[in-house]
Subunit: 347 residues, 2 copies
DNA sequence: TTCTGGCACTCTCTCGATTCGAGTGCCAAG
DNA sequence: CTTGGCACTCGAATCGAGAGAGTGCCAGAA
């Protein structure tokens, strides 16, 4: 029995269903795809596919619809990522070139991804876990306040205003601050976050007795910023695309929108990627652990500067989506963003 | 003829309709509200209200529904902002207290507003137009690159990496940078944006001949950041609330979501507030110039530190909304955020 | 004048019955 | 193993009747 053909049939079903969004029957199938067999044969194959749980009939006499498992097989074995046209590639790079800073890169990326795929785009801010400190700046704002600015090699800037005790003297304030600035940068500049945090803590103990109280406050603010979970942010775009595809969702799109507002959950989801680099990951329907997103698929990929993955981006849409093209778009965008970030962080 | 009573009837209609979301008939009206008259009398009043264009019957024999104009009259003349309970106020201030920086304030505000009103919340980032420069920092990143960091009195930080020509010499680089840093801060620190931009440009001409090329680049980057329109950003939350109230929208919620993604348009909308401070502004249905938002109402108010309005925030929902409570929430949140910002910018 | 009760009328919504059609499952023959 | 044929099933669309809610209007009361 032709395993081969059965998979062809599955592929045809997925393609047609994605295209028409209506259950596809045996007759329509043989007409649209020139499988060399008759409708009856296809029906037999369909019965088998249904037994295997790859397709499913909404009711006795309607056509078949792929199940989550069916899409899974399709994605894993029956489709290749469709390469983008030259024009599309150019459009992507042009759109991203113009970004002025990290916020802008992220913003443009998410919009680009949404308009490219006509789905909901999700972009995680480059995470700090692998980042290094580029520079730390201390700015006195008066005798009792100091602004601590942490500049990250990804281009991100993090700042805190701290209150210091005792107050800086007018006479020595500036001198103290520049002393601290240089010793802090000496131990932390160019150092990865985790290491920087421990080194800084060590610095407190070896520092000049007089500087300790202030230094302690500064370091604790920095350590705080270094492990800051808030960094873990996501940006969304294209929510309106959900409404367009509204009929694809069994219940309303409400639960989906709700889930999308739970950024913490989204982050966890994006974090669960298989860690293989340069590989598009697809999570289909109920494979998705988040309630509310069980009728959606998430196509995502890591991106970041250099070889190490820094964060993830992706798109979310109905399980009935055009996987090959969506995957192509996600991959292309992830690569271009990585390039852009590379350029930025090497300057 | 009792003008008075007719307005009472209008108010009752609005209240009932907001409550039940179904057209309200004369019988139900006299039962729920103890107007001292009979249903027939109310019917006569309704006929008049309809002539005036304040209410409208979906079809011959259904109840009446307020028109946009009807809501307008209700908001302007028939309702008072319902004060929040002590507990709600406490909850608001507690929720906002914990914010660590400006991004966090905005983020918390928008979420708070969304969950408080159960509608879509919109918060504009504090605008720079009235802001002053708190400090400008130059950080050398190598011989040919310099990071310019602009710190604003609202707590916002803006940064740019620039390429300089000619390259800084290893020997003199640091000296040049600190010379520039101090002269720049001398003219720009504490100065409002517009003034700072012109002063900086003037500085280029009076500066030491040798420093000019670098200074020119720095100043142009700063001027760029100072007028930067990108500052004009909005943050949204609570989109899922649209789905919940989905039946209130004639067409789907798609167009609304689309409109919400056009941040530029939203900003214009928020900017069109009546400028009276401390006053909640309401734009109802078709009063709203944006296509796609014509079946929604926007309740907004300015906020900001000090007396001057810095930006706006608000909520967007179906025209059929509970105006008194929504207005109360918006006002309360706007006030608290202003307070928070006040505290921050005075440090 | 203004209000009220009564009554005929209109329109939507719901329900059930009927019909139609697409698609299946199965079978017997190629 | 494939194919054509055929009976069967079940949802979707159509139609009509009936119910119900609400109005508009009128004539009489206050």
């Amino acid at each position: 029995m032709s395993d081969e053909r059965r998979l062809m049939v599955l592929r045809a079903i997925v393609q047609d269903y994605v295209h028409t969004s209506e259950p596809v029957g045996s007759r329509a199938l043989v007409e649209r795809h020139h499988l060399g067999v008759s409708a009856a044969t296809v029906r037999n194959d369909m019965a088998l596919l249904e037994e295997e749980g790859l397709i499913h009939a909404p009711h006795t006499s309607a056509g078949r619809v792929p199940t989550d498992a069916g899409y899974r097989v399709f994605v894993d074995r029956l489709s290749a990522i469709k390469p983008l046209s030259q024009g599309e590639k150019r459009a992507i790079s042009q759109f991203l070139e113009g970004a002025v800073d990290l916020d802008d890169v992220v913003d443009r990326t998410v919009r680009l991804l949404a308009s490219l795929t006509r789905q909901v785009a999700v972009v995680q801010y480059p995470s700090l876990t692998r980042s290094t400190v580029r520079h730390i700046e201390l700015v006195p704002l008066g005798p009792r306040h100091l602004m601590v600015v942490l500049i990250v090699n990804t281009g991100r800037v993090e700042q805190r205003v701290i209150e210091i005790e005792p107050a800086l003297s007018v006479a020595e304030g500036d001198a103290v601050v520049s002393r601290l600035r240089s010793s802090i940068n000496e131990v932390a500049s160019g150092v990865p976050f985790m290491a920087a945090a421990t080194r800084l803590r060590a610095l407190v103990d070896t520092a000049d007795e007089a500087d300790r109280p202030v230094l302690r406050t500064v370091v604790s603010a920095l350590a705080d910023a270094l492990v800051e979970e808030r960094e873990e942010r996501v940006v969304l775009a294209g929510q309106s695309n959900l409404a367009r595809a509204g009929s694809d969702f069994p219940r309303s799109i409400g639960p989906i929108l709700e889930a999308l507002e739970e950024h913490v959950v989204l982050l966890r989801l994006l974090g669960q990627l298989t860690d293989e680099p340069d590989l598009v990951s697809v999570r289909i329907g109920a494979e998705n652990p988040v309630s509310g997103l069980q009728s959606t698929s998430l196509v995502s990929m890591g991106y970041g500067s250099g070889v190490e993955r820094v964060a993830s981006l992706g798109v979310l849409g109905p399980t009935r989506m055009d996987y090959p093209t969506t995957m192509a778009s996600v991959r292309a965008v992830a690569r271009y963003v990585s390039e852009i970030l590379d350029q930025n962080s090497s300057t």
